[in-house]
Structures are given as structure tokens and as C-alpha cells.
Symmetry: C2
Subunit: 605 residues, 2 copies
């Protein structure tokens, strides 16, 4: 995969500076030390590092894979050097405050850098970046001593982290986990249990790995209310911070997967010798809340993973379509002497590319918008604004995670299709990207779990006010679009969409209130997809508005096709894809219950 196929720098700049006005962040005191140049510098450096060090390991890491031998996990050899450089470059804590070892950058900017760091080789990032979430939990809930012992080393990448949540019989149903913790006299806890599907559960890239482990203290309440989190280091960390004895936690096997072959997915055994020790993080029985600090971050990360795969797949397919000659122009199809044309000239190929472009553009703006909300939360223009920004992040997180997972995979599938037969071959990167991307709909909570979170927890937040604020913000963009000739024709469809999105939420809410839980949840993923479609429409319209404004005020000649492309993309979405969303809304508001009333035996088999 060559350099130009990683995250589209031109488009990143557009989103940052044209769509979301990243420069205005520097007017706030906490970001006053930065300016557009420094923002660009960070992104340039991330890009340079990604292209030079990570990119060459993408296919290689897939082929080298992970080795497992008697409890020892060895990542792809080619990951060692970039891992060292990643650590030296201090890439992990870009948005953390300087006092905890961070760079203090806006989330919006670290998100752009993250697109390169996460998106170029996610199997690599799964080692390098998971420690961030563990560090964040310790920053928020740990004692000062725990921070001293673990946090900075996690943020610096000197050690890595994991999340030991899933067990063989407790995946999505976290409350069913059985790993146990019993107190020791010295204030530590003895941990016993087995965990499954643990990303980067073991490796030899660092001297130590800090495992946050979900476990149940003996006698704790059943379900999620009786879960606590313990910090279980691979190598025990002495009071003075020095490394002690290996702890009683081992990897008992790794999974062979469809993709992400360079990432170690481990089964872990804790306390098989009875000597696994951990430290309680935060309060006993409050583990779920603490874990969600990390989980929400991980879900946003997966949303970015999926769209990064999609972005790379799109750029590769686009380049292939521009260079691969096959067949004649449609007007000359019957003339065998006509020259063959690049396949981008074929209308169906253009249709596929434009569908992909709409997805990738929309998903990028969506992910960056959430980062911008995180900045609004941090900057806190007013306490109300601050809270609303955080609530909107909460509302949109399951949508970003699941929608990007679904659509990201769809874009990868289309990329294979643009390549034709070549796309099915290992020789072409889109095949690997597609295998790597599928997991995004599964881990950190499947689409079904995200949709339950959206429907059961997020939609009704603050009596629906958060959702209403989302609609209001969408309508604000529609109003802006109405002021410009280029985007005005799209506003009728957009208004109707926002209004129908409200209807859908009402239908869901009513169904829940009336106790038709099963019917409501049978429509939960379609509802999430509808919300995602609406966010895409919003983001694409917003992009078109930003592009039309720039064109109106005079763009550089060489940039005009790019800006026109933004408007065309929105036109395509509204004309070709939005009617399908409206159809989905039609189906949703009818609230059919066949899936619920179907007898189990009726499924056949």
C-alpha cells in the first residue's frame, strides 16, 4: 500500500478548518498556545511517522502473524522498531494535560493525528494504543500512588495495557462474569479466573503489561452491580516502582482470526497457581462505571478504526479505478476499435465510488465532530453547554461505533468489487483491509449491544432533550444550507429527514413506554442505522455548505474540483441514498412485530 492511500490529508484539512473551524479553538485559553501551524505540524508528523514506519508493516504483519509458544506471545517481528519509535515520539497522550504527561492538544486535532496512527496499521495500534484507556481509568479513579506507579508509564507507552472483561461464558453479558477477587492482608487482592478474547493480552514489546481486570468480590451483589476493577500487572510493581516477580497471570492460547493477524487475541488464566495479585481500582462494586471510561474510549476508537479501513479501501479503489483500463466508454461500447478507458469512466464504477466517498466523508466528519464535542466539553463555554456536549458524545458514541462498523465494512466490500477479480486476491491490500475491518461490528460490544445502549439509555437521556438538541443542530445546518444557492435544493429533503427522524424516535419511545419492549428492540439496530444515515446526511450537507461558502468567497483554482466534489457528494446522497433511508423510516414507524411473534420452530433448521 503506497503513501497516498492512507487517510486523505486534503480532506482532513477541509474537515478541520473549513467544516469545524479548528482555528477558533485557539481563542480559548486552554488552547491559546496553539495555532493552525502547530496543529498542522502535529498532523504532519503523525502522517510522516505512519507512512514511514507503520505502513510498511501492514501487509507484512498480517503475513508474519503472532506466534504462541508455551505461554509466550510474540508479535510480528516487524512491529518492534515502529513500537520503539512510537514510544519515543510520545504519540499516546496527545490530548492529555501536560501535568499527566500529555501534549494538551485539542481532541479534534489529536483525532486527526489518530487517524494516521490508528488507521495505518490497526494490528500494530492494538499493542501501542490500548494502554491509553487503562491510563485514563487510573487518572480518573486511581489513588495518587497508583497514578505514580502506573499512569505515566501507560501514557508514555513504556508499558502497555489491556482490558480483561470477556469470559468464555460472559461476553456481552458482563454481569455474568465469575472471575473472583478475595482480599489479602497486605491490601492486595487475590484474583482467580479465566478471560477470553483479550487484545494484546501478552507480548514482549514492553517490560510490563497492566491488566485492568473485571472481577467479583466474594459476597458482592449479583450482576453488574457487584463488579469491581483490579489492576493486575504482568510483572508485579513494587511500592518504589521497581519491577518485582512475575505475577500469576498467563496467556493460555491465541485465536486464529479472519483478520488482524498481527494482533494477539489471548485467552488468559489468572491465579492458576493461586498467586495472582491485583490492586483495587476505585471503589469496590463500582467497576462497571469505571470500566465505561475505557469502554467509551474504545468504542470511539473502533469507530475510527472502521472508518480508517474504509478510507484506505476507498482511496485504493479510487486509484485502481483511475489506472486500470478495461472496456470502452459506454457510448462506444459497440465499437470494438474504440480505445479502452480507465474503469472510473464506467457509470457503475462511479456509482460505487461515490457511495463509498459519501460514507467515508460522512464518517470522518462524524468522528471529528465527536472530538469537537469533547473539546466543547473541556472548554466549557457555560456549564449547560459543557454538559450538553458531553451528553451528545454519550448519545452519539454507540451510533459512531456501530454505524461506522457496518458502513466501514460495506465500503471495504465495495472496494473489492471495484477491483473485480484482483480484489479477491491476497496480493491486493483491499482483501486484508476487508478482513481486518469485520471485527469492528463485533468487539467492544456488537451492533446489537450498541443499539440497546442507544435505545435503552441514550435516547431518553434528560427526557429526550439531548436527542432534541441533536435535531436542533441538524436543523441549524439546514437553515445555513438554505442561504446558499448551491445547497438550497437539498434543504427540502433534509428538513423532511430531520422531522422523520423525530417520528422514528417517538415511535421507539412510545413502544418502550407502552411496554412493547420486544418489538422496540427488534427495531433497535435499524433505528441506529437510521440515526447514522441521518448523521451522514447532516455531515454531508454541512460539508456542502462549507464548500459552497469557500467557493463563494473564492477558492484557489486547483481546489475547485475538491469543493465541487463536496457538493456533488451531498447531491448524490440526497438523491440516491436518502430515499432508501426514508424507506427504512417507513418500515420502522410501522413497528412490524413478525420477528417477535415468530415461533422459534418457525425459523426452520
Amino acid at each position: 500500500m503506497a503513501a497516498q492511500y492512507v487517510a486523505d490529508r486534503r480532506d482532513i484539512d477541509f474537515v478541520l478548518f473549513d467544516q469545524f473551524d479548528a482555528e477558533s479553538l485557539t481563542h480559548h485559553p486552554i488552547y491559546a498556545d496553539f495555532n493552525r501551524k502547530t496543529f498542522e505540524m502535529v498532523i504532519n508528523e503523525a502522517r510522516k511517522f505512519a507512512l514511514k514506519e507503520l505502513l510498511p508493516t501492514y501487509g507484512l504483519g498480517d503475513r508474519q502473524g503472532v506466534q504462541f509458544d508455551r505461554g509466550t506471545v510474540t508479535p510480528p517481528e516487524c512491529f518492534r522498531r515502529p513500537f520503539e519509535l512510537f514510544r519515543e515520539g510520545e504519540w499516546l497522550a496527545l490530548s492529555e494535560e501536560p501535568e499527566v504527561g500529555g501534549q494538551g492538544l485539542p481532541f479534534l486535532v489529536s483525532n486527526a493525528a489518530g487517524e494516521y496512527l490508528i488507521g495505518t496499521n490497526f494490528a500494530f495500534s492494538s499493542y501501542a494504543m490500548l494502554g491509553h484507556g487503562a491510563g485514563k481509568m487510573i487518572e480518573r479513579y486511581g489513588t495518587e500512588h497508583q497514578k505514580d506507579l502506573f499512569m505515566k508509564k501507560l501514557y508514555s507507552g513504556e508499558w502497555t495495557g489491556t482490558m480483561l472483561l470477556t469470559e468464555p461464558d460472559a461476553g456481552s453479558d458482563v454481569g455474568a462474569l465469575t472471575t473472583s477477587a478475595t482480599p489479602n492482608d497486605d491490601g492486595t487482592w487475590s484474583i482467580y479466573g479465566t478471560k477470553a478474547f483479550i487484545t494484546s493480552g501478552d507480548h514482549d514489546l514492553t517490560d510490563n503489561i497492566i491488566h485492568p481486570v473485571l472481577a467479583r468480590i466474594e459476597g458482592a451483589p449479583a450482576g453488574t452491580k457487584g463488579i469491581s476493577i483490579f489492576l493486575v500487572p504482568k510483572i508485579w510493581v513494587n511500592e518504589d516502582g521497581s519491577l518485582g516477580e512475575p505475577n500469576d497471570i498467563v496467556c493460555t492460547g491465541i485465536e486464529e482470526k479472519m483478520g488482524l493477524h498481527g494482533s494477539a487475541t489471548c485467552s488468559m488464566s489468572l491465579g492458576s497457581k493461586g498467586t495472582c495479585r491485583g490492586l483495587l481500582l476505585g471503589e469496590a462494586n463500582k467497576g462497571m462505571r469505571i470500566m465505561f471510561t475505557m469502554m467509551n474510549e474504545a468504542r470511539l476508537g473502533v469507530g475510527i478504526q472502521a472508518f480508517s479501513h474504509a478510507s484506505a479501501a476507498y482511496l485504493l479503489a479510487l486509484e485502481y479505478a483511475r489506472t486500470r483500463k478495461q472496456g470502452r466508454a459506454v457510448e462506444e461500447a459497440l465499437d470494438p476499435t474504440a480505445p479502452s478507458v480507465p474503469i472510473i469512466d464506467h457509470p457503475d464504477v462511479r456509482r460505487m465510488l461515490l457511495e463509498m466517498k459519501c460514507c467515508v466523508d460522512g464518517m470522518r466528519s462524524f468522528a471529528y465532530y465527536i472530538a469537537l464535542l469533547m473539546d466543547h466539553h473541556r472548554m466549557g463555554a457555560s456549564p449547560d453547554d459543557q454538559e450538553m456536549a458531553d451528553d451528545l458524545v454519550g448519545l452519539l458514541t454507540p451510533v459512531l461505533k456501530a454505524y461506522n462498523g457496518i458502513k466501514g465494512y460495506d465500503v471495504c466490500t465495495k472496494a473489492i468489487q471495484v477491483y473485480g477479480g484482483a480484489g479477491y486476491l491476497r496480493d491486493y491490500t483491499v482483501e486484508q483491509i476487508s478482513r481486518d475491518c469485520k471485527i469492528a461490528s463485533i468487539y467492544e460490544g456488537t451492533d446489537g449491544i450498541q443499539a440497546m445502549d442507544l435505545l435503552a439509555r441514550k435516547l431518553g437521556m434528560k427526557k429526550g432533550q439531548v436527542f432534541m438538541e441533536l435535531l436542533a443542530r441538524m436543523n441549524r445546518t439546514v437553515e445555513e444550507a438554505a442561504e446558499l444557492d448551491a445547497t438550497r435544493p437539498l434543504t427540502e429533503g433534509a428538513s423532511k429527514l430531520v422531522s422523520r427522524l423525530g417520528d422514528c424516535a417517538m415511535a421507539m419511545g412510545k413502544s418502550l413506554l407502552e411496554g412493547n419492549l420486544r418489538t422496540a428492540f427488534a427495531h433497535s439496530v435499524p433505528f441506529l442505522e437510521i440515526m447514522g444515515d441521518a448523521v451522514m446526511a447532516w455531515m454531508l450537507l454541512w460539508r456542502a455548505v462549507a464548500a459552497a461558502r469557500t467557493l463563494k468567497s473564492g477558492a484557489k483554482k486547483k481546489d475547485i474540483p475538491f469543493y465541487n466534489g463536496q457538493i456533488k457528494g451531498a447531491e448524490f446522497f440526497f438523491s440516491n441514498l436518502l430515499p432508501v433511508t426514508m424507506g427504512k423510516m417507513e418500515a420502522l414507524t410501522a413497528l412490524g412485530d413478525a420477528a417477535v411473534t415468530m415461533e422459534d420452530k418457525g425459523f426452520g433448521g
Copy 2:
């Protein structure tokens, strides 16, 4: 993969005998020797063979893969025994006339047997079954001598066949191929060229392989009008049928693919020593027409491949959903002491399963309906009927091929989703099925190629009368549904669908007539998908009618859930999925041209 996950025997019987009244075929003289028992016997035998001999090789063949060493291709070792048995069982020519070595069965019945033979292990079938198409071409276009030399040995499976069409720079654009043929004094032809992506291009399962090769005779017209077909045996076949010297055709490499690892995808070199010989099949420069005999059969085969993958994936996911316990019933979600339930109890899992079931059921009926049309063509109640049946096969072939490819892959993706994390692991068969299925949208003509065939050649057949006949047949089922209480509520939606399908075809036709070729072709795949959706609706309604009739006349108690499931499936499709199709129709008839008018540079990159 255990036995019950291969093709659903209960459903096959329903389609054959309830939906399509297979028994009535035996009233026709050509099928008078058969009865329901003999039909069932053939299918039972196919099933027994598939389960006992093919199924154990599915995962194994994927892991063993194909070996290539200096021109020699070795298929998975585990394919040898089933290949011998396949040949001994005379499974290849079930529907051919006895005089050419066939069993004379109705296509409808051989199609059902084929679901087991093709669907259980497609990598295996790709060796065993490709010879059929080559045999068919020779049966139709070969000289008596060619039939004696090749046809029976292909039909019996003593030798296998291929199709050497694609070249590195001429894939979809067949007319651009450059392989050349020059006449020799002895009536043979010297062939020179290279071919790519040749399925089963070489192997050692048989003594000989017959390669039909598309090539251009020196001085032939440019494009597809100058293409001829030559029979190029791997080992030369002497006049008396004995084997001669190895011919100058070698495999130069095999592809590493996403899936179908047990199937050899070969690059072939012809005439590298200047001594590759072939025999002209049929008339010079008429190769395209001859090739389409094989190609149409191959396209139907791919449609069956894709839906067989989907069927297996569905049955596996269904079984997993019935046995995997995780989480509590939605009404007891907040009670941690409530027992965990099989995941089929979760509304979103049911929704996924029912979407999958609708696809699989609809695709099975669709494929079997085409086989039934082939029987109508063969039986020929009247010359008009006979021609119309053949025309309908022509109209529907690109739809079956592409639609089943798209939806089949979609079902496989959903199956992975039902499995959650486990679905991403090599340990579970759905992962392999998904990788194996992706190719169905690509080979034998991509979705784009199928949609062009549909739009440019098939839709306008006989001034649109063939398409109108399709609509009339759909409406006939709607009328039948109106007579039954169980299905009457679906008829309003169904009528509207048929009428809107007509509108869509009109919009496409108008666009073509007015010369808006690019706009029309930019909507060609969406149009094909709409047609496929409509066929699904038709088939599911037809199934519901058949089920409602059987229920009305009194079904066995144990069969009632199955029949109810047919009606629920149709209800689900009409309530949850059909509005989405109506949305697609809305988008199509608006004929947006953004994909066409977009500047190339506007795509970014």
C-alpha cells in the same frame, strides 16, 4: 460443520412439492418414468453423498489448500476420495438425456440435488462440476467426432473441463483478448497466449483436462465478433480416443485468495514452446455465442453457490442462536438473578435471523423457479410457452447471479454477527463460508456486468414482452394471495410493488431511449437489486400462499410451525424490508445524475 447445516431438506421438499408442484412434471411424457419417490431418492442420495464424503472435506480442504510446484498443481489431498466417488456416482449429468450419458431428470430435481453437490463444498465442486459446461458446449456445437472424443468423458467426470476466457488485460472486456489461433495443415490450430484466473486450470485428479479456449484467428474482426473457441486438451487425444503426448499448455502459477483455498485458480500459458494444439469448436468467429452456453450455466451455478453458502451460514447461525446462552430475557434485563437465555430469545438476534431466513428462502425459490422454467422450456406445452420460458430464464439469469451474490454475502456477514466474537474466529465455519462466498459477486461477470446484461440486453427482449410477462406472473401470485385470509393483508403492498417495478423499468428504458446512457447505467445495479427484491417478495408471497393452502387443507401437527414460519417470513419481508425497496425505487425513478456529472478530480484522493 455437522450434517444438519447443509441445505435444509425440509425446505427443499416444500419448494419442490408445495410451491412448484414437482409431481406434476411426471404427467409429461419426457418425465413419465419418474415419480415423487424417485425424485426424493435422487435427492436423498445426493444428500447422503454430500454429508458423508464432501462435508468432512470443507474445512480440511481450506486448510490443506492447493500446492503449486513447477507447473504442477496438487489439490487438497482430502478431495481425492470424494472425487472418485463423485465420478462413480455419475452425479454430473443428472438432467442430460440418457443418450448422451445423462439421467434425464427434470432440471427442478437436479437443481435440488445440486444444492447438496454444489453447496456442501464449492472448492471441491469447482473441480468436479466445471466439465459439465464444457460438455454442454460440445453437445450443442461440436462435431460428432468431437462428441465421441470428449463429451461423454466430460459428462461422466472421467475428465474435467475449464473455461479459458480471461486474460491479464481482458477480463470483463472479453473482446479485447489477444490469444491467437493459426490453422495447421492437419486441421488442428496452433494456439498462443496467456490466460488468468482459470478455475481448475490444472490438477491431477483426472488423466486429462479439456480446456475450451477463447482465441482470435488471425485476421478476424476486432472485438467480440472475431472470437472463436478451441478445444485444447491438456493431453492430446488421438483420433481413436487414446491419449497422446502432453499438449503445450501449462499452469504458470496459482493465486492466493481470500477464500476457496481448496480451489486452484491458475495462470495458464499456451504455446510457450510453439506446440499448443487445439480443435475449432463450432464455427469460426462465433465463439462468444458458444461460450455463452457455458457462461449462462456458470452464472446460474454461481447463483446457487452463493445461496448455498447463505443457507449453510443461516442454519449454522440459527443453531448457534438456539444453543448459545447469553444475557437475560429483555423483560428481566435488570434482574441479575434471572436465568440467561439462548440468544435466539433476543429480539435483535431474531430480527437478524428472520432477515437471513427471508433471503435464503427467497433465493432458494428463485433458483428453483429458474430450473422449473428450464423444464417448461424442455417440455414445451406450446411453442410460445416454450420460447417464453427460455426468455424468462435469460431475463432472470443476471438477476439470480448478481442478487444472490450480493445477498448471499450479506447473509454470511450477518451469520458472523449472530456468532459475535466467535464468528470472527477460524474455528467456526461461518468465517470460511463468508470468505468463500465473496467471489460470487465477482467471477463469471461482476455485478456491474450482470446489470449491464440486464439493462442493455434482457430488459428490452421482445420489446419488453418478456419483462411484462414476469410482471403478469407476479400479479397472478398476488391474485392467488388475495383469495386466502392469511395472505390477503400482503396483497396491497405486493400490487404496489409490481406496479412500481414497472415504473422503474420504464424509467430505465426511457433513459436509454433518450440516450442518457450514463445516467441509466449509473442506476443499473440498483435496478438489478430492485428486481431481485421484487422477486424475493414474489417468491415469499408464493411460499406463504402455498403454506396457507396446506394449512387450510390440514397439515400434520408437527409441520404447522414450519408453514406458519413461511407466512411470518412473508409478513416480515413486506413489513420490514419492502418499504426499503420502495425507497430504492423512489431513488431510481428520480434518476439522479450526480455520479455521472461528478468531475473525476472531485472524487479526491
